[in-house]
């Protein structure tokens, strides 16, 4: 039992070390992803464009719910005009980056892991290596950067969509004053403090999720079962990483 735990800890440390080395190699061989931009564009298409629908729809629904619940609570204190503030701040600071990150991990991250894992299982990575093409540069790096670039855009779209959803419920359906909704929001939301920090968060989440996805694919055991385990691990570790990083970042950013 204790030996079992010990072995797992050692295995974990070993993987962490490998992941760090992998990140180092990834960054070192990233040049190609930008010199041959179409490689990265392709990955932005797969992880960004194909995630658009789920991000937009979820953003809208989260905004609608925030609008309803927020109004419910605020009108008890007679300050329903503050609905805009509540919706905008919750989305730009927390919900936008976090929920978009979670969706991104399960939609795009898992797909990346599956793809790379399958390439490993069918020896495509070895064949590439044998053709003097570095698989980290050719396969892993473009997927990593595609995710890193897509994630902040997706989070911004999520937040924007959510605010529109909040507006739809609050202003168009319930009848909160349109002018108050926007002006209070604008007075309370600070660009550097709220919006830029939110974008930084989504960028960090993008790096974390993309790294996990690419690494798990690369590190998976080359069997069908190994690939499926790697996909599960991608989704689970991404979610944990997002929530933990969110806590750390929030405590640094929004202390004042």
């Amino acid at each position: 039992m204790i030996r079992n735990i010990g072995a797992r800890v050692i295995d974990g440390v070993w993987r962490l070390g490998f992941a760090s080395r992998f990140l180092f190699l990834l960054l070192r061989y990233s040049g190609q992803s930008f010199l041959r931009l179409h490689l990265t564009l392709r990955e932005i298409y797969f992880s960004g464009v194909l995630s658009l629908l789920i991000i937009l729809v979820s953003g809208l629904f989260v905004g609608l719910v925030l609008g309803l619940q927020g109004y419910e609570t605020l009108q008890r204190y007679g300050s329903s005009e503050a609905l805009g503030v509540l919706v905008a701040l919750s989305l730009t600071r927390e919900l936008g980056p976090v929920v978009a990150g979670l969706l991104f991990a399960s939609r795009a991250g898992s797909a990346v892991t599956a793809e790379i894992g399958l390439m490993k299982t069918t020896e495509q990575l070895k064949a590439m290596d044998m053709m003097a093409v570095n698989p980290i540069a050719r396969v892993a790096a473009p997927r990593f950067w595609g995710g890193v670039i897509s994630m902040p855009l997706l989070a911004a779209l999520f937040s924007a969509m959510g605010i529109l959803g909040g507006w739809l419920i609050g202003v168009a359906f319930i009848g909160v004053d349109d002018g108050a909704f926007w002006s209070q929001m604008q007075a309370a939301v600070d660009i550097r403090y709220d919006i830029v920090n939110g974008v930084i968060k989504s960028f960090v989440f993008g790096v974390a999720v993309s790294l996990i996805a690419v690494f798990e694919g690369y590190d998976c055991e080359p069997t069908a079962e190994g690939v499926s385990r790697a996909i599960t691990r991608t989704v689970v570790s991404s979610a944990l990483a997002i929530l933990a990083l969110d806590f750390v970042l929030t405590s640094f950013m929004f202390r004042g």
Binding site: M119, A132, V133
Partner: protein
């Protein structure tokens, strides 16, 4: 054969290799010269693919030396290794085609990665290679739309796309009908001669390979147990060779992986 020893393109000396604790190769000596087409034969699981991986530098020998074109594969850094591999081609045992690219793009891949050829010339080159393996008509297909035999012919076209100096084929004949088998055999021979390259072929097809190769190595139990030119092999009195060439079930080549006798295992299961 009148090849001088120092000119050898591939030279393995006392190569040992183990996966973990399990020793697969224990003291292999093997030499391939330019212009030569060499066949490696041996029972399933005896380490032939492993041997090719060692020559390609994807695995490192635990003892002994693997030398390709005068360079020790164990000592090379990534850059030098890649420079050398650009002049090698390898046909993987299971094809290993890139599943997200069409047949055309698969063959074009090494050319796109390593040359700056204009698109029109690249197209001509790729179509020529596909013509050579008889799949010109299938250039627009995706790998998932190919049969097993077609896939390995595409992989073969990809392996020779850069006209390498050393070509390794891991079972090029598996899954081919007798006609394509003959064509591919001739292709491998002609290619080797036209390029002045050296080729190493892992195969189980004794008849076909004896008609085209220059030299044959037999591997068993981690060692070279027999070697010779096709004529020597046919005449050979060696019981190992005899068994292999005439496909006899009993002899020094074990059909079974090492294990306790089956009776004992079955008894053991039953007894519990």
């Amino acid at each position: 054969m009148a090849h001088r020893e120092e000119k050898a393109l591939v030279d393995l000396r006392q190569v040992h290799f183990a996966y973990g604790k399990r020793e697969i190769l224990s003291g292999i000596d093997l030499t391939v010269h330019r212009g030569q087409l060499v066949a490696i034969m041996g029972g399933s699981g005896c380490g032939k693919t492993t041997l090719l991986r060692l020559i390609g530098g994807q695995l490192k020998a635990s003892a002994g030396s693997v030398t390709v074109d005068g360079q020790d594969m164990g000592q090379l850094g990534t850059e030098a290794l890649y420079a050398l591999r650009r002049r090698m081609g390898m046909l993987f045992q299971f094809g290993a085609l890139f599943t997200d690219m069409s047949v055309f793009e698969n063959v074009a891949f090494p050319l796109r990665e390593h040359t700056d050829l204009p698109e029109s010339m690249l197209r001509d080159l790729v179509l020529m290679k596909l013509q050579a393996v008889g799949l010109l008509g299938g250039h627009a297909l995706m790998p998932s739309e190919l049969s097993g035999g077609m896939a390995r012919r595409v992989a073969l076209a990809r392996a020779i796309a850069l006209d390498p100096m050393l070509i390794m084929y891991d079972e090029p004949f598996a899954g081919l009908d007798p006609i394509s088998l003959g064509v591919v055999g001739q292709l491998i021979r002609r290619l080797n001669d036209a390029l002045g390259a050296a080729s190493i072929m892992v195969t189980h097809d004794v008849v076909e390979s004896l008609s085209i190769v220059d030299y044959v190595y037999f591997v068993s139990d981690g060692r070279i147990v027999a070697k010779g030119t096709p004529d020597e092999i046919r005449e050979s009195k060696d019981e190992f060779v005899h068994q292999f060439v005439h496909a006899e079930p009993d002899g020094p080549v074990p059909f079974h992986m090492k294990a306790a006798p089956i009776g004992e295992l079955l008894m053991g299961e039953g007894g519990q």
